[in-house]
């Protein structure tokens, strides 16, 4: 984790994310059918496939550029709640990275913090509302505390699992009231996959 991260790393991250959400699409959709509208897997698959294809066609020069570009593609291809939210996460993280050719993991952690804050602001959710934030937050925090990508992935996965007993207060799951309890949030689950993809990209 001492290595600096270049644009190639960030492209690998996005490719690994595309592979992960493709692999797990059915599980994400199953989770979304329990407390949502059964499209989260298809949404993530469509969005990250578009990101991976676009980056293949137009490889971006810097880490920041890769994420800003990826974020824009998500916004343009996903729709739903997750499109603008994940799109904003990547765009704002990318913007925070500036135009450096290489960034440190610490800089990424900080930039991701800005990205997550932007997601919270856009969606109006806070920790404990049973959303993607409940995996994004712990993941980024672990990274910021020097836990490395593996530690961040672990924390994000635990965060996702911790959404099971929560009562949803944002997104579609909130319509269910008490009936949202007992199910893991699909967006938190896909967020944890993004951290897993970071580990893969670094491997």
């Amino acid at each position: 984790m001492s290595a600096v991260l270049d644009a190639g790393f960030f492209r690998r991250w996005m490719t690994a994310a595309a592979a992960a959400v493709d692999r797990e699409a059915d599980r994400l959709t199953d989770l979304d059918s329990a407390i949502g509208d059964a499209d989260h897997g298809a949404n993530m698959r469509r969005g990250f496939a578009a990101v991976a294809a676009a980056l293949e066609a137009e490889p971006q020069p810097t880490p920041g550029a890769v994420l800003v570009f990826a974020g824009r593609r998500l916004i343009s291809t996903v729709g739903g709640a997750s499109g603008p939210l994940y799109g904003t996460l990547l765009r704002r993280t990318g913007k925070a990275l500036g135009d450096a050719a290489e960034v440190t993991p610490e800089a990424l952690a900080e930039a991701l913090g800005a990205g997550v804050a932007a997601v919270a602001q856009l969606g109006g959710a806070t920790a404990g509302d049973k959303t993607m934030l409940d995996a994004l937050g712990p993941g980024v925090d672990a990274l910021g505390r020097g836990g490395g990508f593996a530690g961040a992935a672990r924390a994000a996965a635990e965060g996702a699992a911790a959404t099971v007993p929560m009562l949803a207060r944002k997104g579609r799951a909130s319509y269910l009231g008490e009936r949202s309890i007992g199910h893991q949030d699909p967006g938190a689950t896909s967020a944890a996959l993004l951290f897993e993809a970071l580990v893969e990209a670094a491997a």
Partner: protein, 328 residues
């Protein structure tokens, strides 16, 4: 399912829609359906959109007297801002565009982004949020009430105001008024099957029903043993009236979720009329049919809109769309 592959369902439907409706301009590639004569000089334009799977909403409501353009998203997934910006640019005559947005996190976020982008391009944009579903409490603990059947009332009535030449602020105000005067309640007798999932979105055994469902195949607020049409009408109408308390005449939409036969829907409509009569609510206009659907879900929703003379006049005004058509 009568499809090719889940990935092309929306594009396939748009191709079919284009073939069936030469009177509209359908951009299959960019997923925008536009009134052929748009932009209409001096006229405020109405743009709506949302996830697919609710047909005829919204594309079926494009045409003179209603929407200027519609943006269909993937199944149950809000469209993306690019579609809305493209639609706005295609229909804006300079008089401005009203976005009609059903209150779902995804729709709100995507339309908000689109509004910003469209304004950057010099288009004046106003927005109305439709949130009529009383099954969801409008509190800090939810994303707010869902937008369901009232969308039809808002699009029809605001569309008529725009057709009459009302300016943007006025079209927006009327749209807000219709939404504020409307409430809905829905029930599901079966789940629906999305193409991506290939099967029911939740498990609802025959002999049970879900009260307080939306239009996205999500479970409702409460599961109950099967009830009669009479009992369901009592529950639905009372839930609506509890929150609305109309004094005068109302518009009534008895809406099928897609999988309930029209025969049953009319029978349910009779019971809805009965309860409204018992509660002393005069029904000025009734619409019965599958208008705001949830794929093949069996079930129905009731939408009531408090109507004054102006709303009734605008409701009765001519409309010429694939799914709603009268007058002229």
């Amino acid at each position: 399912m009568l499809i090719n592959v889940p990935e092309t369902v929306v594009a396939d439907a748009l191709r079919g829609f284009a073939a069936a409706h030469p009177e509209l301009t359908v951009d299959v590639e960019n997923r925008v359906v536009v009134r052929r004569d748009a932009p209409v000089a001096g006229k405020v334009a109405l743009v709506s959109g949302g996830g697919s799977g609710h047909e005829p909403l919204h594309a079926g409501f494009v045409g003179p007297g209603m929407l200027s353009a519609a943006c269909p998203g993937e199944v149950f997934t809000s469209p993306v801002p690019d579609q809305m910006v493209r639609a706005a640019a295609a229909v804006d005559s300079g008089a401005g565009v009203l976005f009609v947005v059903k209150n779902y996190t995804g729709d709100v976020l995507n339309f908000d982004m689109a509004a910003e982008l469209a304004e950057d391009e010099g288009i004046q944009v106003a927005k109305v949020l439709v949130d009529d579903d009383v099954a969801v409490s409008d509190s800090l603990y939810t994303a707010g009430r869902r937008g369901t059947g009232a969308t039809l009332f808002v699009e029809k009535i605001a569309g008529a105001a725009a057709e009459e030449g009302a300016p943007l602020e006025r079209v927006e105000a009327i749209a807000r008024r219709v939404n504020a005067a409307s409430r809905s309640f829905g029930v599901a007798l079966s789940a629906c099957s999305t193409p991506a999932r290939g099967g029911p979105t939740f498990d609802l055994p025959p002999g049970e029903l879900e009260l307080g469902v939306g239009i996205h195949g999500e479970p409702g607020r409460e599961r109950r043993p099967m009830m009669t049409a009479r009992e369901i009408a009592d529950v639905a109408v009372d839930a609506v009236l509890d929150d609305l308390d109309p004094s005068g005449p109302v518009l009534l939409l008895v809406n099928g979720m897609g999988g309930t036969p029209l025969l049953e829907l009319y029978g349910f409509g009779a019971e809805v009329h009965r309860v409204l009569g018992e509660r002393g609510v005069p029904v000025a206009r009734t619409l019965v049919g599958n208008y705001v659907t949830s794929l093949d879900m069996a079930g129905a929703s009731v939408t009531v809109c408090r109507a004054d003379e102006e709303l009734l006049r605008l409701w009765d005004a001519p409309v010429r769309t694939p799914a709603l058509r009268w007058g002229r």
